[in-house]
Subunit: 297 residues, 2 copies
């Protein structure tokens, strides 16, 4: 088995532990109540990266004992047809969670898609009601985007006092940057959000206790972007080869890893955690739909 | 008329201009369609500060030609009674916008209150659906908390390129800090959110191009917290005397005002803008409810 240096955060290992626990809970749910959490993935068109991602999600779901089904729609699908498909899945009591794999063809109105998925089945955490619950801390416990949850979980493995930390997030997507900012703020971090327009990025990141990068520019961040005490979470995934064999993150890993306190590798860092939290969201959705909320805690 | 030094951002004056425009639109609405935007304010108990705030809102609404009504409920009101009251106002077609004046007695479940107000009448922008629409930029145009809108409007008066600016927000409330962070991020600012747990606050604020303080600690921020080029927006309001005659902000104004580029006074800065945007939200709600969306643009 590959041995990492001790400052490398092994997302694959943590995800495996989570999946093991999830598997136990899914088994219990099946034995006790004859319920099987079920994911429906809507895949529009045949984007090769999307097919790889969907395959990964389906395999992980199956490994945990969940059911998973893909609804394949042609890239010519109309908005109305896609909405009808979502409505049917919303109304289907056997479906726990619904994913519409991104990106969607440009003729599809993504706003309406996010609004169409029932908030109770929105395991990606994109529906504005779930987003609002995340940001207005005082409301109820909605669904949170799995990648943001995965990043937070890895940060918490690093023996850091979050209330004393300044976290700098690079990238402001609805999938990672924005929700992660909300999560870290809830944990009492001081939070800065940087992005493509930010001036003096290096000046900002080099002061940070925690840097999370989610920009998708391969090896953009060299060692000078980080102080030696930093925790570095690399969400970026860029495929440098068609056969998927060479995947790199936003951080110039081999230049950086021994010059910071902790760092996630790519692959094997945030990626596996994303899938684990997607399945954890699915279990949560399933348990809620069956009023078995004790089980997913 | 009081003349401010030229670097003082005169919120009172800008608010007056907004209210003048709103008054014209309200007049047009009445003349053309016999519609009068109407605010319902629910006031629970007799907190003196709340009574002052509500009185200010009602007066401003009346000055603009809007209708406004207060529903007074005793501090012993039950959750069910308060929810019933909100439902009645939701169902009343003559009501454009609903405010539940904060703070509420501790026995009231504030989460349910925020969820109970129809998102279409939520002129304070507290419903999670409106919050979610603000944070997930890709969704539709909901209601945004008026104080956050007021701060952004004042910043925009300052001849600043927001995409090149680093804004530091002190305070992470759902009323100011969090929504303002979302607004500034949409404007391409780099945004840092600080709060009571933040270490080295001065180190962070003194690097900022824009500092917005919303912590409610009188005169907490002296000149050393700001660089000479900073724009300072002071949202804090502390009443130092029972008769309401002495109101101060978070910034030690007389020590700071001539050492920064722009600054808002307290009173007369963000406060009047909050009321103007509350009424602007009310007009927006009214126009939407009557499918007259052109009018509020």
């Amino acid at each position: 088995m590959k041995q990492y240096p001790s400052n490398i955060i092994d997302g694959k290992q943590y995800a495996a532990l989570m999946l093991k626990e999830l598997t136990e809970k899914v088994k219990l749910l099946k034995l006790s109540f004859n319920i099987v959490p079920t994911i429906a993935v809507i895949l529009v068109g045949d984007n090769p990266a999307s097919i790889i991602y969907v395959r990964g999600k389906l395999k992980a779901a199956a490994d945990c004992g969940m059911n998973a089904a893909t609804v394949n729609l042609p890239s010519t699908v109309t908005n109305a047809e896609l909405l009808n498909c979502i409505t049917a899945l919303n109304d289907d009591d056997t479906i726990s969670g619904i994913i519409v794999q991104l990106p969607l063809p440009t003729h599809i109105d993504q706003k309406n898609i996010a609004l169409a998925i029932s908030p109770d089945k929105d395991i990606d955490g994109f529906h504005p009601l779930n987003v609002g619950c995340l940001y207005n801390s005082a409301i109820f416990d909605g669904f949170i985007p799995p990648t943001a949850l995965g990043c937070l979980a890895l940060i918490k493995k690093c023996d850091v006092v979050l209330a004393e930390a300044h976290a700098v997030i690079i990238g402001r997507s609805n999938i990672v940057g924005r929700p992660l900012a909300a999560l870290l703020l809830k944990e009492d971090c001081t939070v800065t959000i940087c992005h493509s327009k930010t001036k003096n990025l290096q000046n900002i990141t080099s002061q940070a206790d925690i840097v999370i990068s989610a920009i998708g520019i391969p090896a953009k961040l060299s060692a000078k972007y980080f102080n030696p005490n930093a925790i570095v979470i690399d969400v970026g995934i860029t495929r440098l080869s068609a056969d998927n064999s060479k995947i790199v993150g936003d951080v110039d890993f081999f230049n950086v890893y021994d010059k910071v306190r902790f760092i996630t590798p790519v692959p094997g860092g945030v990626g596996p955690m994303t899938i684990a939290f997607l399945l954890s969201n699915t279990l949560k959705a399933c348990c809620r739909q069956h009023h078995l909320t004790d089980l997913y805690v």
